[in-house]
Subunit: 197 residues, 2 copies
Amino acid sequence: MLGTAEKSTRAPRHEATRQRIVDEAWRQVRQHGLAGLSLRRLGSSVGMRAPSLYSYFVSKSSIYDAMFAQGWAECIAEVTPCVTASDRRGVLRQLARSFAAFSLRDPIRYQLMCQRVIPGYVPSPEAYAEAVEALELTISRLRGVGIDGPGDVDLWTALLTGLIDQQIANDLGGERWLRLIDDAVDMYVDRIDRRAK
Amino acid sequence: MLGTAEKSTRAPRHEATRQRIVDEAWRQVRQHGLAGLSLRRLGSSVGMRAPSLYSYFVSKSSIYDAMFAQGWAECIAEVTPCVTASDRRGVLRQLARSFAAFSLRDPIRYQLMCQRVIPGYVPSPEAYAEAVEALELTISRLRGVGIDGPGDVDLWTALLTGLIDQQIANDLGGERWLRLIDDAVDMYVDRIDRRAK
DNA sequence: GTCTATATTTGGATAGAC
DNA sequence: GTCTATCCAAATATAGAC
């Protein structure tokens, strides 16, 4: 009657417990992998039995949904304020560095947000909306420094996620690809500059 | 006594059955996801019970291993002959197009080969050797056209896998990132040229 | 080499008492 | 809202007969 499906301001305790469950779910996927989330273990870690979780989430997928949405919300909250420059190269550098730092601090979160890894799980439209908002913030940042050609944004996301994916898959904990970020930004900026002519 | 653990030329029938099992395993992961491979189902699809599979593979992981190695062997066999150009831009274009085509024709295979997605599975050293060989072939191709600076190869793999990852994750079946390949190659080549000065 | 039988563990989800 | 009890299904792997 009140809210949109699973959110309500009227039951703060309920909402707090939901959050505790999600927090613990993050802990568990970091330890056991994204697909290794178990309701029994999750329940017992927050002090209840598995069936009780169904008072807070209608299914296991809806827990992933809450995590997915939270991940993108955190991304928006953390990355956006990092971009303070106003010149093109500066904006791109800050964008790349802060998003890379955000992603590599929690590779499992990045996996849930940016890769299709859990068999059978597809983000709900509501959860996906958060991801769309993050992308739109990026798009508007790029437009602010004159980057809005067809494919320009897509090439940027590919370049940035490529560096991060490689870093995660082949040198987790190191900086083999991380240290190429400034090079990559320069390469990208030069291309934009050249196309402007 | 004879061979290296799991390979033998002396039992062609045995080897043929192994291959049938691996082929069927590919079919199943394409349908149920990488983590959705089940020994019961796999066995029954090749006309035997799950325990019989243990006559051919010591564990489920060793099936993934065989698939991993086969994927990289196929990559070597398919991508290498596609590169016939001798100029820098031509080589990079052929390399990028053929690897992208190879990857996108079978996204699940790409996932197994290039992303860490199966909880608890890590390629064995023998399986990984095939991946290393593929990378070395790429490195030598790049060196052949004068690309060998520190980070140059890493930036190339990041750029290429970034495009493919985005294509798979966000526009499977389309060509939104695929069509940026030539642009990306140009951007990369310009950077190399500029650094030469 | 293949089978049956089984060990052992685990999974998500529901019914219904309290 | 939480519990017990249970359903139902699935998983990998081993033992031992044939």
